[in-house]
Symmetry: C2
Subunit: 90 residues, 2 copies
DNA sequence: ATATAATTTAGTTAATCATCTAAATATTTT
DNA sequence: AAAATATTTAGATGATTAACTAAATTATAT
Protein backbone atom coordinates (compact mmCIF):
# COMPACT_ATOMS: atom_id res chain seq x y z
CA UNK A 1 0.00 0.00 0.00
CA UNK A 2 1.50 3.29 -1.08
CA UNK A 3 0.07 5.89 1.27
CA UNK A 4 0.25 8.93 -0.94
CA UNK A 5 -1.05 7.13 -4.03
CA UNK A 6 -3.70 5.38 -1.94
CA UNK A 7 -5.10 8.66 -0.68
CA UNK A 8 -5.11 10.06 -4.20
CA UNK A 9 -6.90 6.93 -5.39
CA UNK A 10 -9.46 7.18 -2.61
CA UNK A 11 -10.17 10.83 -3.36
CA UNK A 12 -12.37 9.77 -6.28
CA UNK A 13 -15.98 8.60 -5.80
CA UNK A 14 -15.84 6.18 -8.74
CA UNK A 15 -12.83 4.43 -7.28
CA UNK A 16 -14.38 4.27 -3.82
CA UNK A 17 -17.47 2.69 -5.36
CA UNK A 18 -15.27 0.13 -7.12
CA UNK A 19 -13.71 -0.75 -3.76
CA UNK A 20 -17.15 -1.12 -2.22
CA UNK A 21 -18.21 -3.47 -5.01
CA UNK A 22 -15.05 -5.50 -4.52
CA UNK A 23 -15.72 -5.71 -0.79
CA UNK A 24 -18.73 -7.90 -1.58
CA UNK A 25 -17.07 -10.15 -4.14
CA UNK A 26 -14.21 -10.27 -6.58
CA UNK A 27 -15.20 -8.99 -10.01
CA UNK A 28 -13.82 -8.82 -13.52
CA UNK A 29 -13.19 -5.45 -15.15
CA UNK A 30 -16.23 -6.01 -17.33
CA UNK A 31 -18.50 -6.78 -14.38
CA UNK A 32 -17.29 -3.69 -12.58
CA UNK A 33 -17.87 -1.62 -15.70
CA UNK A 34 -21.56 -2.55 -15.78
CA UNK A 35 -22.03 -0.52 -12.61
CA UNK A 36 -20.78 2.68 -14.20
CA UNK A 37 -21.58 4.90 -17.12
CA UNK A 38 -18.01 5.32 -18.34
CA UNK A 39 -16.08 3.76 -21.19
CA UNK A 40 -13.93 0.68 -20.72
CA UNK A 41 -10.69 2.67 -21.08
CA UNK A 42 -11.79 5.09 -18.38
CA UNK A 43 -12.59 2.22 -16.06
CA UNK A 44 -9.28 0.58 -16.90
CA UNK A 45 -7.57 3.80 -15.88
CA UNK A 46 -9.31 3.80 -12.49
CA UNK A 47 -8.41 0.15 -11.93
CA UNK A 48 -4.83 0.94 -12.78
CA UNK A 49 -4.78 3.77 -10.23
CA UNK A 50 -6.13 1.42 -7.56
CA UNK A 51 -3.56 -1.20 -8.54
CA UNK A 52 -0.66 1.27 -8.47
CA UNK A 53 -1.80 2.46 -5.05
CA UNK A 54 -1.63 -1.11 -3.78
CA UNK A 55 -5.32 -1.17 -2.86
CA UNK A 56 -6.39 -4.02 -5.15
CA UNK A 57 -4.98 -7.18 -6.68
CA UNK A 58 -5.37 -8.38 -10.24
CA UNK A 59 -5.42 -11.92 -11.58
CA UNK A 60 -6.31 -13.37 -14.93
CA UNK A 61 -9.04 -15.94 -15.39
CA UNK A 62 -9.40 -16.83 -19.05
CA UNK A 63 -9.83 -13.61 -20.94
CA UNK A 64 -11.11 -11.77 -17.90
CA UNK A 65 -9.02 -9.86 -15.42
CA UNK A 66 -10.35 -10.38 -11.93
CA UNK A 67 -9.92 -7.62 -9.38
CA UNK A 68 -10.01 -8.11 -5.63
CA UNK A 69 -9.40 -6.01 -2.55
CA UNK A 70 -5.88 -6.23 -1.22
CA UNK A 71 -6.45 -7.53 2.30
CA UNK A 72 -5.78 -4.99 5.02
CA UNK A 73 -4.81 -2.21 2.64
CA UNK A 74 -7.64 0.18 3.40
CA UNK A 75 -7.32 -0.55 7.11
CA UNK A 76 -3.69 0.42 6.82
CA UNK A 77 -4.58 3.71 5.13
CA UNK A 78 -7.01 4.44 7.95
CA UNK A 79 -4.40 3.63 10.57
CA UNK A 80 -1.69 5.73 8.96
CA UNK A 81 -4.17 8.58 8.78
CA UNK A 82 -4.78 8.37 12.51
CA UNK A 83 -1.06 8.05 13.14
CA UNK A 84 -0.50 11.48 11.58
CA UNK A 85 -2.18 13.15 14.50
CA UNK A 86 -1.85 10.55 17.23
CA UNK A 87 1.75 9.43 17.22
CA UNK A 88 4.34 11.47 19.13
CA UNK A 89 6.26 12.18 15.97
CA UNK A 90 7.60 10.58 12.76
CA UNK B 1 -15.84 17.23 7.37
CA UNK B 2 -16.41 16.84 3.68
CA UNK B 3 -15.26 13.33 2.85
CA UNK B 4 -14.37 13.79 -0.78
CA UNK B 5 -12.58 17.10 -0.21
CA UNK B 6 -10.90 15.71 2.91
CA UNK B 7 -9.38 12.80 1.00
CA UNK B 8 -8.20 15.17 -1.71
CA UNK B 9 -6.69 17.40 0.96
CA UNK B 10 -4.96 14.47 2.65
CA UNK B 11 -3.49 13.24 -0.63
CA UNK B 12 -0.79 15.89 -0.39
CA UNK B 13 2.31 15.48 1.80
CA UNK B 14 2.59 19.19 2.57
CA UNK B 15 -0.94 19.27 3.89
CA UNK B 16 -0.44 16.11 5.94
CA UNK B 17 2.64 17.69 7.48
CA UNK B 18 0.61 20.79 8.33
CA UNK B 19 -1.92 18.59 10.12
CA UNK B 20 0.87 16.88 12.04
CA UNK B 21 2.25 20.24 13.14
CA UNK B 22 -1.20 21.33 14.24
CA UNK B 23 -1.62 18.12 16.22
CA UNK B 24 1.10 19.33 18.57
CA UNK B 25 -0.13 22.89 18.96
CA UNK B 26 -2.21 25.52 17.24
CA UNK B 27 -0.14 27.68 14.92
CA UNK B 28 -0.44 30.84 12.89
CA UNK B 29 -0.05 30.72 9.12
CA UNK B 30 3.34 32.35 9.46
CA UNK B 31 4.55 29.83 12.03
CA UNK B 32 3.41 26.98 9.81
CA UNK B 33 5.13 28.57 6.85
CA UNK B 34 8.48 28.50 8.59
CA UNK B 35 8.43 24.71 8.35
CA UNK B 36 8.20 24.74 4.56
CA UNK B 37 10.08 26.05 1.60
CA UNK B 38 7.10 27.50 -0.25
CA UNK B 39 5.80 31.02 -0.64
CA UNK B 40 3.16 32.46 1.66
CA UNK B 41 0.49 32.34 -1.07
CA UNK B 42 1.17 28.66 -1.69
CA UNK B 43 0.86 27.91 1.98
CA UNK B 44 -2.30 29.99 2.14
CA UNK B 45 -3.70 27.84 -0.65
CA UNK B 46 -2.97 24.63 1.26
CA UNK B 47 -4.56 26.05 4.40
CA UNK B 48 -7.61 27.00 2.40
CA UNK B 49 -7.88 23.45 1.04
CA UNK B 50 -7.72 22.06 4.57
CA UNK B 51 -10.29 24.60 5.71
CA UNK B 52 -12.68 23.83 2.84
CA UNK B 53 -12.33 20.13 3.58
CA UNK B 54 -13.42 20.76 7.16
CA UNK B 55 -10.19 19.41 8.61
CA UNK B 56 -9.00 22.58 10.36
CA UNK B 57 -10.44 25.66 12.02
CA UNK B 58 -9.27 29.22 11.64
CA UNK B 59 -9.43 32.08 14.13
CA UNK B 60 -7.90 35.48 14.19
CA UNK B 61 -5.60 36.67 16.93
CA UNK B 62 -4.37 40.15 16.29
CA UNK B 63 -2.90 40.20 12.83
CA UNK B 64 -2.27 36.49 12.84
CA UNK B 65 -4.64 33.78 11.69
CA UNK B 66 -4.42 30.81 14.00
CA UNK B 67 -5.09 27.37 12.60
CA UNK B 68 -6.11 24.38 14.64
CA UNK B 69 -7.19 20.81 14.00
CA UNK B 70 -10.93 20.35 13.81
CA UNK B 71 -11.55 17.86 16.60
CA UNK B 72 -12.53 14.40 15.41
CA UNK B 73 -12.34 15.27 11.73
CA UNK B 74 -9.46 12.98 10.76
CA UNK B 75 -10.90 10.21 12.90
CA UNK B 76 -14.12 10.57 10.95
CA UNK B 77 -12.27 10.29 7.64
CA UNK B 78 -10.61 7.10 8.88
CA UNK B 79 -13.95 5.68 10.00
CA UNK B 80 -15.72 6.50 6.75
CA UNK B 81 -12.85 4.88 4.90
CA UNK B 82 -13.32 1.67 6.85
CA UNK B 83 -17.08 1.88 6.40
CA UNK B 84 -16.63 1.67 2.62
CA UNK B 85 -15.56 -1.93 2.90
CA UNK B 86 -17.03 -2.96 6.23
CA UNK B 87 -20.61 -1.81 6.21
CA UNK B 88 -23.27 -3.99 4.57
CA UNK B 89 -24.10 -1.29 2.03
CA UNK B 90 -24.73 2.45 1.55
C1' DA C 1 -5.33 -19.60 -38.47
C1' DT C 2 -9.25 -16.57 -37.99
C1' DA C 3 -12.76 -14.48 -35.62
C1' DT C 4 -14.65 -12.97 -31.30
C1' DA C 5 -14.48 -11.21 -26.65
C1' DA C 6 -12.27 -8.77 -22.75
C1' DT C 7 -9.32 -5.45 -21.54
C1' DT C 8 -5.44 -2.33 -21.95
C1' DT C 9 -2.38 1.07 -24.24
C1' DA C 10 -1.73 5.24 -27.03
C1' DG C 11 -2.74 9.70 -27.89
C1' DT C 12 -5.80 13.81 -27.36
C1' DT C 13 -8.48 17.22 -24.79
C1' DA C 14 -10.55 19.80 -21.07
C1' DA C 15 -10.42 20.41 -16.24
C1' DT C 16 -8.11 20.65 -11.91
C1' DC C 17 -4.03 21.60 -9.15
C1' DA C 18 0.41 23.47 -7.03
C1' DT C 19 3.15 26.99 -7.51
C1' DC C 20 4.67 31.62 -8.47
C1' DT C 21 4.60 37.12 -8.57
C1' DA C 22 2.03 41.13 -7.74
C1' DA C 23 -1.61 43.43 -5.54
C1' DA C 24 -5.12 43.80 -1.98
C1' DT C 25 -6.98 43.42 2.79
C1' DA C 26 -6.84 43.39 7.84
C1' DT C 27 -4.60 44.61 12.08
C1' DT C 28 -1.36 46.88 15.03
C1' DT C 29 2.02 50.37 16.01
C1' DT C 30 3.94 54.86 15.69
C1' DA D 1 -3.49 58.57 9.46
C1' DA D 2 0.71 56.47 7.76
C1' DA D 3 3.84 52.74 8.04
C1' DA D 4 4.70 48.06 9.08
C1' DT D 5 3.29 43.23 9.57
C1' DA D 6 0.55 39.08 8.53
C1' DT D 7 -1.97 36.91 5.40
C1' DT D 8 -5.07 36.39 1.51
C1' DT D 9 -6.84 37.16 -3.25
C1' DA D 10 -6.03 37.61 -8.23
C1' DG D 11 -4.15 36.02 -12.18
C1' DA D 12 -0.76 33.26 -14.82
C1' DT D 13 1.84 28.95 -15.82
C1' DG D 14 3.25 24.18 -16.00
C1' DA D 15 2.01 19.57 -14.39
C1' DT D 16 -1.23 16.09 -13.38
C1' DT D 17 -5.78 13.95 -14.09
C1' DA D 18 -10.20 12.00 -15.99
C1' DA D 19 -12.42 11.37 -19.89
C1' DC D 20 -12.81 10.11 -24.76
C1' DT D 21 -11.83 7.51 -29.57
C1' DA D 22 -8.99 4.43 -31.97
C1' DA D 23 -5.71 0.80 -32.01
C1' DA D 24 -3.27 -2.98 -29.81
C1' DT D 25 -2.98 -7.06 -26.83
C1' DT D 26 -4.41 -11.44 -24.70
C1' DA D 27 -7.06 -15.44 -24.55
C1' DT D 28 -10.84 -18.54 -26.20
C1' DA D 29 -13.59 -20.67 -29.73
C1' DT D 30 -14.49 -21.96 -34.39
Amino acid sequence: MYFNEALGALADPTRRKILKLLSKRNLSAGEIGRHFDITAPSLSHHLSVLLMAGLVNQSRQGRSLIYSLKPGAIEMVANKLLAIIKEPNK
